[in-house]
Symmetry: C2
Subunit: 184 residues, 2 copies
């Protein structure tokens, strides 16, 4: 509700934003398509299987699984239900908390994951890793960590005198055409 003037994106910022979106779209759709084709599974489901496979006993509480795969409880609940139908995951009652459920990767699930992994890794190389120099990979890591850190502590409007904008020059273009500033 603040009355502050909108700081529209500069041309360069806008380009960066749009190119970034396009890159993500093409990359993730390629990864998704490969997994769908090679393993009949979406990337989201694949992540769930991976997190389980890495957990002790290949088992996790539903909440922990949700957190580990950075997704909602609801999503995990639905997904695990589907994966249970396939026989890749088994759900059991948690012994220490009678509200809880424990999702465990079955041997079939583990085998399916092991079968899917090589094709997926190859795709990840093709779509990202092998495209970048080691320097670029480091830069990307740095950028990713910055984004994640900012999301973890979403500081409100008052974040010190300079706020989080200290590094960027204000564009202050006045009121531009909405077309040019809508950013995507």
């Amino acid at each position: 509700m603040s009355t502050s003037e909108t700081r529209w994106l500069t041309a360069g910022e806008q380009q960066a934003w749009r190119e970034f979106i396009t890159a993500c779209q093409t990359m993730f759709s390629a990864v998704d398509a490969q997994l769908q084709q090679g393993a009949g599974i979406s990337h989201g489901y694949y992540e769930i299987l991976v997190r389980l496979s890495e957990a002790p006993g290949r088992a996790l509480r539903m909440s922990q699984l949700a957190e580990a795969s950075t997704s909602s409880k609801s999503r995990v609940s639905h997904a695990v239900a589907r994966l249970e139908e396939r026989g890749w995951i088994r759900r059991t009652d948690c012994p220490t908390d009678r509200r809880g459920q424990v999702a465990q990767l079955t041997d079939e699930g583990f085998a399916a994951l092991a079968a899917a992994a090589p094709g997926h890794v190859a795709q990840v190389r093709r779509s990202l890793i092998d495209l970048l120099t080691p320097e670029q990979l480091g830069q990307l890591r740095e950028i990713s960590l910055t984004i994640i850190a900012a999301a973890d502590q979403p500081r409100g409007p008052a974040a010190g005198i300079l706020g989080c904008n200290a590094l960027t020059e204000t564009s202050s273009q006045g009121s531009r055409e909405p077309e040019r500033a809508a950013t995507s």
Copy 2:
């Protein structure tokens, strides 16, 4: 079908990949949430409106709209149908090709976009632009363009002697545990 050994990701590569995924998830979900809350619209739909707003006459053929928003014809078809129900887009027959349809942003649609833009831009700043130094923004652009370019010409297995992997050291860890190599 090739019998080549899988080149698993190194620890650093794996970290980079996962952090990148997490960053994208958190960032896009924040952007999506803001748009949903502020304008009752998903980011995908917002993009469609933006592309139309930038087109001459605020109108585009369905196919061009699909291409401009890097999405499938089917998706655009469904989305435009929904946006037409809201009165934000109007569909008319194409005068030069009787198979074609032209989607045009209505005044209501343009007004809705103009109303949504400031909040969206602010969110994009908060979630990405203002978090990065100008150098980092440049690096991100470079990386994005590389990814996009690679997707445009998905060269087959034979891409010259060195292929596209010339820049990366082979990890060649033998057959690791599937858990450690599945990458997410």
